[in-house]
């Protein structure tokens, strides 16, 4: 599903040049659950951004579902992104001014789904995440675990092929964290590809494979059994 080859990304300021990704090559197959680990500044977030089509590489190849997307412009990337990729963030990133229902509904609005259909799909996914009873609450009225479940609901409501999770349990206590990991595992078992950046060895154990990074390169891959 994803094949990146010799991917490079360099950040430049006036005085310093920081190599975030250094000729990185990774492949992720459809249906895989991959964890990416590594110390701060190793390039995992940059990688996730590029995988999520939020940022573009300086050089190298990025095949997404067999299409070269490295040179896509912003509009094309946005289009591909909203149909194929869901995001889950450490800090949930829900819009404070929108209710739970409205937050989850948002991606459907941008892909042009009709109102009646939206209602059906949002309710289905809220049901699945067991937060239907909170549908009219605002994010700040929910606990951290509940907020992350809303965020996951929003990520999956469009039935994306790929979910990118950036430290999804980082702001949660262990029981809420486990719940979210279980959600992701369930989604993966239903066929969604998941790539997750994490610091937590515990969380990483939910995945099929761990890619360890250092200084913009992969240094080790563990296959989980």
């Amino acid at each position: 599903m994803i094949r990146i080859t010799h991917l490079e990304k360099v950040y430049r300021t006036d005085e310093v040049e920081t190599v975030a990704l250094n000729k990185l090559t990774i492949e992720v197959k459809e249906g895989e659950f991959v964890a990416i680990m590594g110390p701060s500044g190793c390039g995992k977030s940059t990688l996730l951004n590029i995988l999520g089509l939020l940022d573009d590489p300086d050089s190298g190849s990025f095949m997404f579902n067999g299409i070269e997307v490295a040179k896509f412009n912003e509009r094309k990337r946005a289009d591909l992104r909203k149909r194929n990729i869901g995001f889950v963030f450490q800090s949930f990133n829900l819009i404070d001014e929108l209710t739970v229902f409205e937050n989850v509904e948002l991606p459907l609005i941008y892909t042009g789904v009709k109102a009646a259909e939206r209602k059906k799909r949002v309710e289905a996914v809220l049901d699945k995440m067991q937060i239907m009873h909170r549908r009219n609450h605002y994010p700040q009225q929910l606990s951290g675990g509940q907020q992350q479940r809303v965020a996951v609901a929003r990520a999956v409501v469009n039935n994306p092929k790929l979910i990118l999770a950036d430290e999804p349990t980082g702001n949660l206590d262990s029981s809420n964290g486990n719940e979210v990991m279980q959600l992701l595992t369930d989604l993966n078992e239903q066929g969604t590809t998941i790539i997750m950046v994490t610091h937590s060895e515990h969380d990483a154990r939910y995945s099929h494979r761990i890619i360890r990074m250092l200084d913009g390169q992969t240094v080790l891959e563990n296959i989980m059994v």
Binding site: D55, N93, L106, I109
Partner: protein, 785 residues
Amino acid sequence: MFRTNLKIAWRNLIKDKQFTFIHVLGLSAGLACVLLIFLWVHDESGYDKIFANDDRLYQLMERRTYDGEVNTSEASSGLLSDAVKQQVQGAEYTAAVAPAGWFPKYTLSSGDKNIKASGQYVGPDYFNIFSFKLIEGDKNKILENKSSIVISDELAKKLFGTTENIIGKPLRFDQDTTFYVSGVFEKIPEHSSQQFDFVLSFEYFKSIKEWVTRWSDSGPLNYVLLNKGTDLNAFNKNVADVITFNTGDSARKVFGTRFSDLYLHNNYGNNATSEGRIEYVRLFSLLAIFILVIACINFMNLSTAKASRRLKEIGIKKVVGAGRKQLIFQFLAESLLLTLGATVFAVGIALALLPAFNQITGKQISLHFDTTIIIYFIAIILCTGLLAGSYPALYLSKFNPLSVLKGKLNTSVAEIVSRKGLVVFQFTLSTILIVAVMVIYQQMQFIQNTEAGYDKNNILRLSAEGNIRDKEEAFIAELKNVPGVANASSTYHQIVGRGYNHGGGMEWQGKDPNSDVSFDVFEVDYDFVETMGMKIKEGRSFSRSFGSDSAAIVLNETAVKAMRLKDPVGKTIRRFGKNIQVIGVVKDFHFESLHESIRPGYMFLWPGGTIVASVQSNHQRQTIAAIERLYGKYNPGFPFTFNFLDEAYQKQYDSETRISALSKYFAGLAIVISCLGLFGLAAFTAQKRRKEIGVRKVVGASVVNITTMLSKDFLRLIFISLAIALPVSWWLMSNWLQGFAYRISLAPYVFVIAGISVILITLFTISFQSIKAAIANPVKSLRTE
């Protein structure tokens, strides 16, 4: 999607009430101001455009060149109209007019009803040229007869109680002449610069005023309705030499100018830089645009400043699939919506202010929604909404979603420059307005305090009408005996404003044969100079102790200079073929507004017109009551009306007084709007630097240190504004002052005061936020990080 965006926008507005309030208030105030100015400009531009043949209606102007000096005037000879009709191709109708403004109100009587009304004398084709609506009478015939009078329906109702069946009815005019009603016209519309209650025939005027029948004497206004399809340039070519043709004087040229343009463009280039009312229309339109721009800038500044609080929303939307276009659209729509809301408030504010505004402007503007106004309204809302929303829309939509979600807002140099540029622009405008208000005020004070050359206070004027006209000498003698009356006389001149003047007709020793002097004529009675408190520079004024004063004149200083006379007193001058003697020189006095230089003038004995009396300021009410009794004794059946000269004097500066008052309000408003913006921006800056302020405090910065640090940045911007605004305002105000022949010089302290006040206003505005930020507990701000 629209509903979701609307929801987000609405909830954002409610969440941040202070911000929203500043946002909407600033914009509403600006819009209200623009609305008022727009209504005023709309009203002003509508004058004299009411006539059916507006596109063919021209006024004949006369341009004289004497001594290389060009003088253009609407006043010309009373013979011009007839000559043009007979001798020049292209004129369908012409009419001479002796305008209502020349005369005091006349008394019209029918039965026991006596009504004072203003009237003018017009040529027979007047109603063919000006399409005032006739209710009774045939417009081709109503002024055929010298004894005809055409009255307004309003006047007809007052005199006869009806407008029907009054044709042919007699009306006594000033109790001594009888005219017969030949027509009734509908009350003159408000948007006509000519306002009158009745008209008499110009032929009659000619029969009572001999000077009107001379080419050499100017005064009457002349109008022409061109034939359909006549080209103005061709007509002007033909009409130019009509006076030369009739008099041989090649220095006088005639041209036609569109009548409806004259209301706004009432200065014809007599070396003055002022172009008339159009200048104020332009000035205020510009002001409206400025104020709107300031309000829009506020909006942009506050929106972008607020961006940091909405970055997450933008980031998330981008992540879940919103394109840049959608975000731009969202913010523009939001801005339009807010503008729409602000407009509703603005209409409310404008409605509340309209009575006061009308009082200041002397208008009767009402807010009525006709198509033009609605179209302009929609245009204003669209322009404002899009202008105000454009910058935030482009700015907010372009962020990289990830840095946005991480709360990193990389402000580029260009952004900082543009945001600061907006503040500089606002304060530049505000400073210019402050300077303008001060200079206008000073010039107005200067006008008030300039010696007119006569005692303009306590001069009471009443018309020498009815029996007073015939027994003027006796009336004045009795008037002088009324307790409280210091002196009395009479004059045909209005004293303030142009009267009748003539070039030619005067010969004196040493006169340059190649040039001529145009004189303003003051027909006066004995004691005029004394009653008015004018000063005699040389010689004497008219006096009964000298038998020959009917052949004497008194010159003003400017006339002596223009005639190049040395020792003028005792010299003999030929006036229209008769010898007269200069008996004195009166010190120059202003008989026109200070816009104009004093022109040559002379006085000669010719009693009548208006009685002037100098009354003592104490017990004025009793004095006036006594004068009324005396008047009633002479003129039973005449309503007693009078006025004080200083009212007429003030009236000359009506537009300046109004401008002065209006500019004060608008400048105040501009400053308030700018300050609202600054307030919001200061709040934003303080919030953005919360952590920095916390850290600084932890390591030992005092409240004063922090306040100074936060204020310094803003002050730098203000100094830049001042550096731009002060020279610009100096230039602008010098230009404005050029329009006055007598004016103040621009004092440097005006600019110093303006500068200091802007700095103080700024400091005051930002101090709230700076001090609030400085005294906040650093632990709180650091913990939230």
